[in-house]
Each structure stands twice: as structure tokens, then as C-alpha cells.
Symmetry: C2
Subunit: 204 residues, 2 copies
């Protein structure tokens, strides 16, 4: 069951949202202000966060900034809630890195659709694989294009000999390049180098 954190200072609004979420088979987590919200988010790692902009203690923007600063919570979809009439905060909110922005009074359908869309989008972002289709990204590590190619294959578990066969060079040359690669990456051995490569290639 998806956990959804609601950070909202008005008790009535909070209870209302909680009810709606529960009815849709979400597990609502509640926080009455920003500081509390951050604490709950870091501890419970919800699947999505609904957060009011105007709050005592810590406003929504600060909450967003705090959560984005922590790697554990940075990827959680974050949706702002705001009362109509406030200046065009929609753009401000989105520019801070929010994922959606709902204006109160929120229609129930709009709320649920927005939640569904954001959860689905997060799902897309999640199921990621390593992309071994191009060596180019590895050059960001300071490698020459040839070195990047070699690391690309080594990271896939190829031996020096196999890599040499693929690139039409001899195994010793692959080894020589690897020496340079290890030096440039500041690592020891192909395993560590592969880990670095995979980190880069996992962005795809």
C-alpha cells in the first residue's frame, strides 16, 4: 500500500485529505507543520508528499528544499497545495523542484488524478536499468574515448581477452589501457572501476 504524507496545518483540511486517501486505499501519514513533516518523511519514506505552502514553523518551500537536500528523500514526488488567491506561486513552487501544484479548493478527482499521475511517473523513473549502449557518458570521468569503450565492456564482465577481441586489439593493450583507467579513476581493480562506470551509466 502506498504511503502518502500530508503536511497541512489546518486540522479540518488535514483530516479531510486523510479520509480521501484512506478511502482510496492509500496509507495516509499526517504532519501538522513543516518540521514535523520533514521528520516523518525521513523516517517513514512515503511514496508521495502533499504539502501546504503556508504553514507555521516551516513553510512548504523550506520543507521541499530540506527534503531535496537529503538523498533519501530527494526522489519522493512532492506536490504543493495552496489556497487560491495567493500570488502566482505555482511557478515559484514548480521552479523549486516540486512535481505538481494543486490549488485549493481541490476537487477530489483532481487530487486523485494528480497523485496517480505522480506515482506512475515515479514508477517510471524507478525501474531503471544500466544502459550499456554508449561509452560516451564515461568520458565524463576524464577518460579518452578508447578508454571509455574498454571500461564499457569490462563493466559488463568481459575479460581483457574478450574485450580485446571485441575492439580488435590484443589483450595486453586492453590491460595497459585499464592501468591508465584505474589511475584516472583512483581505484584498484576492475570491480571498483566497474562500479564507478555503472553509477554513471545508470542515469540513462
Amino acid at each position: 500500500m502506498k504511503k502518502i504524507l500530508v503536511i497541512e496545518d489546518e486540522p479540518a483540511m488535514r483530516a479531510n485529505l486523510s479520509d480521501i486517501l484512506e478511502m482510496e486505499n492509500f496509507q495516509p501519514l499526517l504532519a501538522a507543520n513543516g518540521r514535523e513533516g520533514i521528520a516523518v518523511a525521513k523516517q517513514a519514506l512515503p511514496d508521495l508528499i502533499l504539502c501546504d505552502v503556508l504553514m507555521p514553523e516551516l513553510d512548504g518551500r523550506s520543507v521541499l528544499a530540506a527534503l531535496r537536500a537529503d538523498a533519501a528523500t530527494a526522489r519522493i514526488p512532492f506536490v504543493f497545495l495552496t489556497a487560491k488567491g495567493e500570488p502566482a506561486d505555482v511557478r515559484t513552487g514548480m521552479n523549486l523542484g516540486a512535481d505538481d501544484y494543486l490549488v485549493k479548493p481541490v476537487k477530489v478527482d483532481d487530487l486523485l488524478d494528480a497523485i496517480a499521475a505522480r506515482l506512475e511517473r515515479a514508477q517510471q523513473q524507478a525501474g531503471r536499468k544500466v544502459d550499456f549502449s554508449s561509452a560516451a557518458p564515461l568520458q565524463a570521468l576524464g577518460l579518452s574515448s578508447r578508454e571509455a569503450e574498454i571500461l564499457l565492456w569490462v563493466a559488463q564482465g568481459k575479460t581483457n581477452f574478450e574485450t580485446g577481441a571485441i575492439l580488435n586489439i590484443c589483450a595486453g593493450t586492453v590491460k595497459k589501457h585499464l592501468e591508465n583507467i584505474y589511475a584516472k579513476l583512483g581505484v584498484e581493480g576492475r570491480n571498483s572501476a566497474s562500479l564507478r562506470a555503472i553509477e554513471i551509466l545508470t542515469s540513462s
Copy 2:
């Protein structure tokens, strides 16, 4: 340099956006309709897509759906552009999985801020790391708990000896377990086994 694909049928608007992007040191890619846009997106894999909603050939919603359906383009930040006055498509667009929605006439600053925010958010989503904190997920591969522990360390580039030191067993025993692990995973060598482990540990 970040590539930004502009899918927009009005030539003047397109040229205008292109100029703005170029001025900000982005590399603009241009498409005059939806079908063209999809083709360019799949071929060039831009870092972000700006797409008008109303277009001949294929409207923005169809473009978004098509790109989201393809794994190669599904994660690219997608921003809708729409002329003011059209029904509240903002919500419709966002609910389809768009990442932002700008209403024309767009202020240059709003455009650039939105682009910056979406690129940064994509960056956050990208830099995903492998979670080596628990061996439990590896048991899903059919490994015993001890084998999972061993693979956990080997996947981090530890040698048999180092792994043995960590687990207080001798290197030979680690090797023996690895033989069983390789057999169970149907792989040859620690590199391939590590790849399998990382795949599992990355989904977390």
C-alpha cells in the same frame, strides 16, 4: 551541452524559442509537428522536451503518450506549452504525466526557470545509487543468507580475502560459497554475479 527539443507548429514561436535556448547555451532541436517530434526525440534523446499541445498531425498529448511508452524516452522531462484561453488543460496535461506546464505567452524567465528546475530534477532522479545496506534482497535470487552476504561484499569489489576478513571466515570458504553462488545464478565469475546483484540492489 544540454539538448532541448522544441515541438511547436507555429514557425515564429519555434524560431523564438530556439533563439532563447541558443542564447542560454542549450542546443535546440526543432520539430514542426508531433510525428516529427517523436522521431527526433527517439533519435536524438534530448535532455528535455518542450511541446505545444495543439498541433496538426499529432497533438501534444499523443506525443507525450508515445514517448512515455518507449523506455528510451520515458524518463525525459516533458513540458507542455499551451496558449492561454484553452480550457484548464493544465491539469489534464499534468495528469498525463507531463512534468510541467507553461501557458503562453511565456515570460522568458519563467521558461528558463522551468527548464532549469526540470533539468535539475531529472538530474536528481538520475544519480541513483545502489543500496548495499542489506543483503536480504539478494536472497530473492535463491541464495542462502550467508551467500547473499558474501555476494553483497563481492559486488562492492572486495576480494575473497577481504570478504573473509569482514565475515570472519577464511578466504577459501568465501571462494567455496562463490562457487555455489555462480552455479545458482548461472553465471561465470564474480563480475557477472556482481552485475546481477547490482540489478537487484538498484531497484530498491
